[in-house]
Symmetry: C2
Subunit: 134 residues, 2 copies
């Protein structure tokens, strides 16, 4: 099968540094964070504005890519399920999908609300939430 190489377009700056302590979902107490984009991608950010909710795609670089089944939420009393039925970071392509609100923009630094990604996590993409007209 063919392979494709991702481009790391930026990194997450977050107080979260420990996977074991990180919340599983953004609404479970995740802190705010900064998205620090490489300056070459400044044109791609044009038009983003504070107050907007966007989809952030990250590469969960500390995940185990050979895991195919998990106990949901790490609870060993629950039956194992295929990773494609869960949000486990451990999966063949550990792409993180986060709905975040943009709080501020300073050049190629973008401040966002609750984000359950660890400090240093590579950023892959930003997409609008709703696109009836784009």
């Amino acid at each position: 099968m063919s392979e494709y190489t991702l481009r790391v377009i930026g990194r997450v700056e977050s107080p979260l540094t420990d996977r074991a302590a990180a919340p599983l979902q953004a609404d479970e107490g995740a802190p705010g964070a900064w998205l620090v984009f490489d300056e070459r991608y400044a044109p791609a950010l044009e038009g983003l504005s504070p107050g907007t909710d966007v989809l952030l795609l990250t590469w969960l670089d500390r995940a185990d890519r050979d895991t195919l089944t998990v106990h949901p939420r790490g609870d060993a009393t629950r039956p194992r399920a295929g990773v494609f039925t869960t949000r486990s970071p451990d999966r063949p392509n550990p792409i993180g999908l986060h709905e975040v609100r943009i709080l501020a923009i300073a050049g190629t630094r973008v401040q966002v609300g609750n984000l359950e990604a660890l400090d240093g996590t590579p950023i892959l993409d930003v997409k609008p939430l709703l696109t009836p007209d784009r």
Copy 2:
């Protein structure tokens, strides 16, 4: 910057073969399709069931990765916008994000409803839509 390599876990089988003719959004007349997974990923599919809506992540392998701004929806009368404010397939990491309904499952072949991805598009991941408990 570091680079990461994607694993192609399957391919889309679709009557759509021409990017110019493909709808921009699934609700603009996209046809049904089959997701054909590599058999090694069968365990990761366990628990998926017909009637469920899921998020499908694909690699839009015919996209231009050097595009940073576009005319929204290809309309040259509209001002250019950063690709991160649009759903353009042309972007640094052309990851397609599709909300699809599972219609049927036959081994590692999964039939889904409206999907705006071209025939042969690599599949990267499947995630649940809502995950209050996983």
